[in-house]
Symmetry: C2
Subunit: 214 residues, 2 copies
């Protein structure tokens, strides 16, 4: 109402509406339990629109993983810790940001990728591969800083890539704990253990976190 052309107003937006709905629904309920009908209802479009943009439900899953990468990637890229000079300070900035994100309601901080990868690694290799691309791509943005910090501080004995992936593993596992326990406390503890691991590896005391302002 007030809008003389109800359909025309959102024409061309169905795809994005569906992907945004997919992010919310699949994160909360999982991929298999999220039906196409429900996705359409949440997005406010019809099934015709769905199958116009995605040939199958699986294709939406792949696109949702890609969409997730873009949305979260933009968020992390805009975070202020990137401006820090010391690469190790950037690494701790990342860890502190991840910790701060774990706070409110569980559906808001958990990860689409971990949820989908669990369900689909057998039934849909295409979605699992998209999840791998998303998580590995994100890990690589951290890997560069880790590699620079290792070189600067003379830390060796493992690869920067493996530590970046380990960081993702801890976060994914922390989300599972939060979901099973119905609250973020255990997840926070786990991220704090991860931070302590970095402090021990790079031989800094816990005070490194105090120059948070760029």
């Amino acid at each position: 109402m007030g809008n003389t052309n109800q359909t025309g107003a959102k024409r061309g937006k169905a795809r994005k509406l569906l992907l945004d709905a997919a992010l919310d629904l699949i994160r909360a309920k999982g991929y298999a339990a999220t039906s196409v009908d429900e996705l359409c209802a949440t997005a406010g479009v019809t099934k015709g629109a769905f199958f116009h943009h995605f040939p199958t439900k699986e294709a939406l899953g792949v696109a949702a993983a890609c969409h997730w990468s873009e949305v979260t990637g933009a968020m992390f890229a805009a975070a202020p810790y990137h401006a820090r000079q010391d690469p190790l300070a950037r690494v701790f900035g990342y860890l502190d940001l991840r910790r701060d994100l774990i706070a409110g309601a569980i559906p808001e901080f958990t990860c689409l990728i971990g949820t989908m990868a669990q369900e689909t690694h057998v039934s849909s290799p295409a979605i699992a591969a998209a999840c791998d691309r998303s998580i590995s791509g994100h890990a690589q943005t951290l890997e560069a800083d880790i590699a620079a910090a290792m070189a600067a501080r003379g830390v060796a004995g493992f690869s920067a890539a493996s530590l970046a992936l380990h960081t993702q593993a801890v976060l994914q596992g922390a989300f599972i704990l939060a979901k099973a326990k119905g609250g973020p406390e255990a997840a926070l503890d786990s991220v704090n253990h991860l931070r302590r691991y970095f402090e021990l590896l790079f031989k800094v005391d816990g005070k490194e976190r105090n120059h948070d302002r760029e």
Copy 2:
């Protein structure tokens, strides 16, 4: 053939057959994607038998989590590392066992609990609570050894419970990496990072792993 009474031979076993089938199917495909019909077909029983033993599919999910705790709990309880004198050696024995379990095909080493908790934490609080009981109960068996090791070595600054749960988080996250990547390598790296964290916390060098025989 050879068995004169075909039906009587497996009478009374339907419940266990269904739970064993649930462990395999849900681990591979997830809870939502595993249908009651498929469970019955895999178990070799009919739907009538299913709903005789479980009022709903959700009740089977809860029972499956409990069954998983019993099966895996017995396996860990029988592991030889429990005979070691030093509690810290038992902790490393646990970590090395977990690492060794991550080897062959992915469906064989991944965890039912993490898979179910992800999917059901919103749609089925009963299953999520059962997952919490399973994972927390398992963590407690490790927590005792961690607490003793912390006391013996004068390690402090965090709780034994949080470190035991962190260990579970790393393992769960490692399983997600393995599923997304279609292989165990990243999961192994992550467990190795976890082991290094324990070595740094308890100030032992990497050679602690060499007295593996009780």
